[in-house]
């Protein structure tokens, strides 16, 4: 009986992991293969292995679809991890970078920086974007933490976060509306949430930042696990609570900032993915959950991007619209489940 329990938990986990890997592979293939320009399978395969040639098909593959694919996978994983960290920090299953207004804070500061620099004819480097987004994320996070300190009720925290998000989005809209014409074109798509227009340079920067941050998150598995029994018990087994909380805030903000800098705010991935992973694997052990959250976030965002690109091709929807449509019901389901208890 005991052995059996062990085996079933482990088997479950392996099945979920394999299913996610298969889904990931399938979505990679679909995202490369499907688009507004038809490229045959033979061309794709030969192009992928021969490297960039100067045909239009090759350009589309190498300059559009592949970077976008990488962006979707890397940033999707980052969002899911950011959500997981915030849920740990606030001890609240529906905390996430989007509902807490952290994405919107990042968006606001990035928009301000972009409008300011673009209006002077400058260009904004990806490093500047990330730093601006990080500053914005920390700003919103600061507000949310202040509120969390005053009010212990989880629902108040979420509502406050949503309101902060609205305020930041409203100011962003003002800024975008009054900005000069050419910058609007750049800003509008981005402020809705989209992986389009990613360059290889962007991919390099985001890969580096997300890889470093995610590795650190994985290395925090042990204290995150201890924290699940509450702050006092975590402290009693030797977790340095202050340092740990600072690490959670910084890492979740960096991950969210990186996503927002490159793709704008993308909703509900951070809540839906960790929840679904826990529900499927029936475990909450951080060591096991963290890698699958990343993979799950990548799958989720690649799937949403595929739908956003192809549903009304050649017109694109924002990724955020698609992710809301799938992610928001998950949040309602969690809330309903909590209410039942």
């Amino acid at each position: 009986m005991r052995q059996q329990q062990q085996v079933t938990r482990r088997t479950r986990y392996i099945i979920v992991a394999i299913a996610l890997l298969l889904l990931f592979a399938a979505l990679v293939a679909l995202n490369i293969g499907i688009g507004s320009v038809n490229i045959s399978l033979g061309e794709i395969v030969s192009n992928l292995f021969s490297g960039s040639t100067n045909t239009p098909e090759s350009d589309i593959l190498h300059k559009v679809r592949l970077p976008r694919l990488f962006a979707g996978a890397i940033l999707g994983g980052a969002l899911a991890l950011s959500g997981f960290l915030l849920q740990t920090f606030f001890n609240n299953p529906i905390a996430g970078p989007y509902v807490l207004g952290i994405s919107s804070g990042a968006k606001l500061i990035v928009a301000l920086v972009m409008v300011f620099v673009l209006s002077r004819g400058g260009t904004v480097s990806s490093a500047t974007m990330i730093i601006a987004a990080f500053a914005g994320a920390m700003l919103s996070m600061g507000f949310v933490m202040l509120i969390a300190r005053k009010v212990k009720r989880a629902s108040v925290l979420i509502v406050s976060g949503v309101m902060i998000g609205y305020i930041c989005s409203a100011i962003t809209d003002f800024v975008v509306t009054f900005a000069s014409d050419e910058s609007i074109v750049n800003l509008h798509n981005w402020s809705q949430g989209s992986f389009s227009g990613t360059s290889w340079d962007d991919v390099g920067v985001m890969a580096l930042v997300v890889f470093l941050a995610s590795t650190l998150v994985f290395l925090l598995s042990k204290p995150i696990g201890a924290y699940q029994l509450g702050e006092s018990y975590a402290q009693s087994v030797g977790v340095n609570i202050k340092a740990f909380r600072v690490a959670l805030v910084l890492l979740s903000s960096v991950l969210c900032a990186c996503v927002t800098a490159f793709a704008g705010p993308i909703s509900f991935v951070g809540i839906a993915v960790p929840h679904l992973i826990k529900a499927f694997t029936k475990t909450a052990k951080p060591l096991l959950i963290i890698p699958l959250c990343f993979l799950g976030g990548a799958v989720f965002c690649l799937g949403c991007d595929l739908i956003a690109r192809t549903a009304y091709a050649p017109v694109e929807m924002s990724v955020s619209s698609v992710s809301s449509l799938i992610g928001a019901p998950v949040v309602i389901y969690i809330l309903a489940g909590k209410a039942r208890k």
Partner: protein, 251 residues
């Protein structure tokens, strides 16, 4: 006498406001000290400071001659374990997972349990009679079972000192007596020093080597149960009207 665990001029409280002042005690390994006193007298604050869950305002606690503040978190966690009044509500954790959380100060950087760790977790669960519920979800068990599992978690830390804040509250008599017997056994067989607070005086008399009476921010007295459980001391401690003490202890 070799006192392993001592408090000297210890003052505890919040934000520089003292709650209990000038606490002094000295315990040997394997002794049981019980804090009694009216609600709000500061027993929890004393216990939290002893376990370094909050900073002492003055004085210090010494383990084997070393002041508490000198210990690094991991070292301290290998010596002092706690059972608190708060009830954790972790999602998707079995009772075994919760008990295993006590192995934290001994596991490596990623917290992976070795076979020896697992054996210790099973031993701890066996000690508190909770081995049969080890695969049950922690959020679905009764108060009595919950307290057993939290004690198992503390035992997994292999501490020299266990600090428990009202471990018998909400428990029916069977679970309460069982928890206290387990503590007595730990004290006797493993030489664990036990410091706890209790509301039920009959339990305090049964389990303690020493009893500390806390009232109005002061330690009224610290003595053997025989000396403390007298009409004078208890009536003064709880402001009992004439005649209540006899009724309470069936004299």
């Amino acid at each position: 006498m070799n006192f392993y665990f001592k408090a000297e001029k210890l003052t505890v409280g919040y934000d520089n406001k003292p709650v209990v002042e000038n606490i002094e005690f000295a315990l040997q390994k394997g002794q049981v000290l019980t804090l009694i006193g009216p609600n709000g007298s500061g027993k929890s604050t004393v216990l939290k400071s002893i376990a370094r869950q909050q900073k002492a305002l003055g004085g210090d606690v010494y383990i084997g001659g070393e002041p508490l503040k000198r210990f690094r978190p991991r070292e301290l966690a290998r010596r002092v374990a706690v059972v608190l009044t708060e009830r954790p509500k972790p999602e998707l954790m079995t009772c075994e997972d919760v008990a295993a959380a006590g192995r934290y100060p001994y596991t490596g950087a990623l917290g992976i349990l070795s076979e020896a760790d697992r054996e210790k977790v099973r031993d701890a669960l066996r000690t508190v009679n909770a081995l049969d519920i080890k695969d049950r979800s922690f959020s679905e068990i009764s108060d009595g079972q919950l307290q057993r599992v939290l004690l198992a978690r503390a035992i997994c830390q292999e501490p020299e000192i266990v600090v428990l804040d009202e471990p018998t509250s909400f428990l029916d008599i069977r679970y309460a007596v069982e928890i206290l017997d387990t503590l007595r056994k730990m004290a006797r067989e493993r030489g664990t020093t036990v410091i706890l607070s209790l509301h039920e005086l009959q339990y305090a008399r049964r389990v303690s080597d020493l009893v500390m009476c806390v009232k109005d921010g002061k330690v009224l007295c610290i003595d053997t149960p025989e000396a403390v459980f007298t009409k004078e001391v208890i009536s003064r401690l709880y402001d009992l009207p004439e005649g209540y003490y006899e009724e309470l202890f069936g004299l």
